[in-house]
Amino acid sequence: MTARDTRAEVGTGDVQDSGHGGPDDDYPPERLAAIGREDLDHLGARYDGVHVLHVDPPPAPGSPLEKRATRQVSMLFALAGLFAFLFVFVYVGSGWFLPDWRWEVGGDWWGLLFTPMLGISMGLSLLCVGAALVVYTKKLLPHETAMQEKHEGSNFERVTAAATLQKGWHNSGLGRRKLLLGSVGFMGGGLGLMLLAPLGGLIKNPNAGNPLGTTSWGEGVRLLREDGTPVRPGDQEPGSLATVFPAVPGGNRESDAATMLIRLRPAQVQSATARAGQEDFGYGDYVAYSKICTHAGCPVSLYEQETSRILCPCHQSQFDVTQGAKPVFGPATRALPQLPITVDEEGFFVARSDYIEAVGPTYWNRERI
């Protein structure tokens, strides 16, 4: 308060002192000019609630300790510069006066070392800068111990701020003018919804056309290998697995159509039991199961032909192909769906229908579609 009053008295001739009040009153320019730099620093600090308690002076100017520290810091900065220039040298020079930087399989050693050289020279350069700065503070700057006061919140400020807020609310009359309040609330709700509504463009109906429950497999759809060749029963040896896709456009890139075509060994055929109602889904010693894990959708295909297990590499669910690909270990809960297969008149494998259940991970209404 007093500061402002005083300033008013002093008038406009003295505006040079910035109008912060308080201290400018206590310390007119003449008085400040008489104070030394060190004391000014501490004076300012006191205004910020900081007390410098103790200062360990840096090594005396010209002392051997100082000279050595200065040398060290300078050396580190110089090294930093050196490594930085090394980086630039390698970066710019490669392919100009140095060997080409481009790495190719079976290429020369420079291409193999280009990235490491860049990274390591950059790392060393930056490390030297960091070390120089730290050594600088440790060896060449005074070590001071300062103490800053913490202040609790002020009751005065709380009360006055609250009063202003309350006054504003009171003057607005919203407490009394119910109609206004209601309409503002209505407007707020509407506006909020309006701004959120365009996000509705993200929403798609997952049940339209049942994309989750169906795949491209269907009656008469051939089983093709990834390169597009159809499969004959004679193509695979007993104890083998091939990944096959439906013969439809883009079939080999579909996320849920990949199927494992497995030819069982004679011993497996003897012990094999299919799931109830799916006894005729195989063809001879061939069975076809979905490759998409029923747990989290990874392609299961770590087929152990001796133990008849299929392992999923993501979460280690294990399925037994001789028991209808039933899960025998790990987090998966459902058997891999089996694709009913047969052979068409040209002797190639075809599906007899789509999978009779949804393939892939379980979801809320999976059993219903």
């Binding site: 050289m117 730290v134 103490m147 006061e149």
Partner: protein, 572 residues
Amino acid sequence: MATATAPGAPRTALGKAAVELDERLIVAGPLRRTLHKVFPDHWSFLLGEIALYSFVVLLLTGTYLTFFFQGSMTEVVYEGSYAPLRGVEMSVAYASTLDLSFDVRGGLVVRQIHHWSALLFVAAIVVHLMRIFFTGAFRRPRETNWLIGIALLVLALVEGFAGYSMPDDLLSGTGLRIASAIMLAIPVVGTWVHFAVFGGDYVGELIVGRLYIAHVLLIPAIMLGLIALHLLILVKQKHTQFPGAGRTEHNVVGVRMFPTFAVKSTGLFFVVFAVCAALGGAVQINPVWLWGPYDPAKVSAASQPDWYIMFLDGSTRLFPAWDINLPGDYTIPALFWPTLVLPGIIFTLMALYPVLERVLTGDTASHHLLQRPRDVPVRTSLGAMSIAFYVVLLLSGANDVIAEKFDISLNAMTWAGRLGLILLPAAAYVLTYRVCLGLQKHDREVLEHGIETGVIRRLPNGEFIEVHQPLGPVDAHGHGQLAYGGAPVPKRMNQVGGARRAIRGFFTPIEEPIRVELEQREESRGLATAEEGGRELTSAGRPTEGGRPSEGGRPSEGGRPSEGGRPQEPRD
């Protein structure tokens, strides 16, 4: 005008310019206050800065990467310089990642720096969080900042996962497939959520583009805002500090921002950047060209997420096959529990921990002095328990790699993880609790009986005793009367100046031992005249009568405890 003749007016060009600037912006006051902010002088307060500076490195390198990366799933045929993939069909995202690695000069090193600093960023957050937790820095009034910190951690995980998934390689695509399955696993709305995020059935053509914009704009913007808020609140509330002589609930003792702290902190930025850059050059990370382009029918053994998501992969591997079938043929998939419910519980408990502790202990006071973990054995043990739980999950996330490398059965690893998840946290709790009590007891014992000097004396009756150095005045029975003040208790003689003070120097000594000896003798001569106050520890850790928390009056504040204290004649 008065300006020209004003006493003390700057005469140099720089000074005049500064005055001109301040006349327009009036920044001198705020600037001075900023320069004077006091930072506690302890290394553990810099842990959060590692995270901050890794984030800066991420922004710098990430911006560079956006010049080359294209977040599109359009299929192209690769014709770049990496021969083993030439002619293979792949998405533009993957192809541009390859180009960025092999056909952009220096692109690979920047990409690798970016990935390493991402791993470091999350690791630094975790370390910072552990420091905050174990020292009780989250207590009132800092609950808000704790909440912001947890939010930042969660966002960092999401951000990291988005970045990991963007190149559309076979490894990250497998991760995305699992993310898709997790969305589907949400009860009731799962399929709707999935169709909204992916724009249809898996995999669609949109997800990489959506992840890209989330990774480079949406999430970083939120994170930047939260980081700014985190720091603003920190400045507003001021730092906590460890207890010690001269340190109270009403002050912060340390160094001022300018120049010492600013220079040190800048130094730390360069060190963090250096570590990321050196790793980015020396150690290959995520070589996507070896993984190949994503294809839903392909997979590799040992497919894992980056380490910070690995705990969720671990929980998924360990969780038993428990689908819940509800009437009406509805199902809650087993996947739902370990991937959504578990992290939900973990992060909710973390976020609520300050409130829970406040309610359970009834301690509603504001705290600015930190606690030593041993003094709060329950919290410390809970922390150790959580870490044990987390580490079991983390290791289980890599259990196939461990099984393969150490020739252990994979099934045995799964069962070890399942049992370990239940047994190890309990063991960690009990063990940590015991250790805390033991450490507490030892502190009290030293305060009561003094430091073991190693000097054996024979009493006239023939009994041998070890001479103890009391830390303060003793009563008639020779027992110390100091109360424990929450600060480290000196336990070796040279921590109380029994030997000469330690020679300065972190890597090598930077002063002559003989000079220190002389200096010390001089000091001990002056000691006789100096007042005795100011060095005793009181229970509150406040300065005693003298009120002068002066030179070396702090027995220890982490760094070099041996500097503290003054020599004192041993008594038994």
